[in-house]
Amino acid sequence: MSAPIYPGKGADSSHARLAAIFNQDENRTNWHDQTLWWVRQKRDNAARQLPEWEQLRQWASDIKDHTLSNLDAYLVEFEKNALANGIKVHWATDAAAHNSILHEIIRTNGITRIVKSKSMLTEECHLNEYLLQQGIEVVDTDLGERIVQLRKEPPSHIVLPAIHLKKQEVSDTFHEYLGTEKGNNDPQYLTQAARIHLREKFMAADLAITGVNFAVAETGGFVVCTNEGNADMGAHAARIHVACMGIEKIIPKAEHLGLFTRLLARSATGQPVTTYTSHFHRPRAGRELHIIIVDNGRSRQLGREDFRNSLKCIRCAACFNTCPVYRRSGGHSYHTAVAGPIGSILNPNLDMKAHADLPFASTLCGSCTNVCPVKINIHEQLWKWRQVIAAEGLMEPSKKIGMRFMSRVLARPAIYRFAGSAARFIMRWFPFLLKNKSLNPWYKQRELPQAPKESFRDWYKKQRS
């Protein structure tokens, strides 16, 4: 399995470094920030139209909490009902198992043409790369995903995969691969070109892969939400439909869909509902419907008390759009399939060492937690992952040495006072020692505070004793 290459990825592929590269083009950073902030505002407006919004979040959170506490039983119930519906159910403990199940379905049915609508799970499993190595091409059909696929880039956002790109870049890509007019940057024109290009792919496809937004235990069916209609075009045109879902996609009852569909689109894009909310229960006559239920670390996360409720996530990306760090660092800086705040608490579970930087890519401002439609305490989990990562010794040694030194100073009032006055002394009389842009990151674009002659304690002692 090979992970996609993230731009700028090299010896130091930390979020901080990739984000610094992203910020070298300030106009572009501003544009990225403002575009996503606009999405956040659309979400705010949609939420404010519902006086019951906070109540809905609480209910959704409660239902997800309940489901996770009984997940094995719900999975069994879902499987039983799905089988009775004529759906073929597969189970995959990890990404490799998921990919090989799909490969097997493709191989035994002699499939050559495959379309796929958006599925973050298949991104997480690097399915496309795996199948390419077997000589099998998968065509992504979500417009944003098709754009980044043609550019050989990973998506930078789970709802808006090409949000990092400007229309000129999309135009150049389409000119190169789809033969559109050079320099025609009109989104309408470009979308129409993609429509024609992908219509042909849909019509030719033998097999369609989709994700799953919600799987209903009670009915043994699943729901897929899109705006473009690409999941449906693929699933209804192809002979075989394979839906890939993480074990956490289960909800107990059909009536719960009312709650989650109300929250999902409003949180994601500010729409009152997605254009298509498609409910699949049985294959059409003569066709096949498969579901692959994937664990890939989720049961391990379920066992982590502090982090299990990250599994409540419904992938709306509201936390991306609100995150002031995400907006100013771009999705690729997170070097993972799922970026943003939620990615920063999910990915350390998948590979703690590779993603040790992510929980630190946050100011812990807490906005993510507030927008989350299922009330995941994202910023608190970021804090807790920091503790786990430090305890596992996965941080740069220099940070640990610095912190240890600092903790010793701060735990001893006399040493603290000495260090404080020494620091102020140096800042007052030898500021050049600190005014070094390469050694002191603070000073690169910020002045140091003016050091006063005396500390508050000094003043207080003089005044009040």
Binding site: T35, W38, V39, P51, E52, W59, I63, D65, H66, D72, V76, N85, W91, A92, T93, D142, L143, G144, L160, A162, K167, V170, P187, Q188, L190, T191, Q192, L198, R199, M203, T219, G220, G221, N227, E228, G229, D232, M233, A235, H236, P252, E255, G258, R262, T269, Q271, P272, V273, T275, Y276, T277, F280, H281, R282, R284, I293, D295, S299, Q301, G303
Partner: protein, 194 residues
């Protein structure tokens, strides 16, 4: 142990103590003051339009005029006259200009309309046609998605869908473009209550 049992065992080991599920009281949510006004407003907000017709004859007239104009028109709505058979092959449906399909309920809070597989004739029809017309009666509106899911039995048929507006995308610089992969237009025909 196979993948299934491994996963179920790991989940059983990892899951927290049971948390009871108390079913929310959906009835505490206030409905929009006027379902029809709200429905019309949201159909427009999601990119569709509402056409009020006085009776089924008007709809039949509309459909026969369209059919006479020569395009590939499929009518699946009983109120619209003869119900057409739908070919099985998606290739044969690629050129459908307008499909008239009977919705079962409309949702006032978001303009979504539920469509059952049997109403479509072929699951791909409401997605592959160039223009989609969904037919409803005014008494078939519900307040919100909570009520909608009480009214719709999602597994009664093999497939069913809520459709809200024409297909759309904003994947290029967040510019809204109507007509991504599916219909480029959606009209909701509202007939008077029966």
């Amino acid at each position: 142990m196979n993948n299934r049992d491994q996963i179920l065992k790991a989940v059983a080991n990892g899951k927290p103590a049971p948390k009871p599920l108390s079913l929310p009281d959906w009835s505490s949510i206030a409905p929009p003051p006027d379902l029809l006004v709200s429905f019309e407003q949201f159909v427009q907000a999601v990119g569709g339009e509402v056409l009020f017709l006085d009776n089924t004859e008007a709809l039949q007239q509309l459909i026969s005029t369209e059919k006479a104009s020569g395009g590939f028109i499929i009518n699946r709505a009983g109120e619209g006259g003869v119900v057409d058979e739908v070919p099985d092959s998606p290739r044969l449906l690629e050129s459908v200009k307008i499909a008239y399909i009977r919705g079962s309920i409309g949702v006032a809070e978001n303009g979504a309309i539920w469509v059952d597989e049997s109403a479509m004739g072929n699951r791909i029809l409401p997605f592959i046609c160039e223009q989609l017309v969904l037919v409803l009666r005014e008494n078939e509106l519900v307040a919100d998605m909570h009520e909608a899911y009480r009214r719709v039995q999602i597994n009664r048929e093999g497939f069913g869908v809520f459709i809200a507006g024409p297909s759309k995308t904003a994947d290029i610089e967040q510019s809204l473009v109507i007509g991504a992969h599916g219909p480029k237009g959606l009209t909701v025909v509202l007939l008077p209550a029966l």
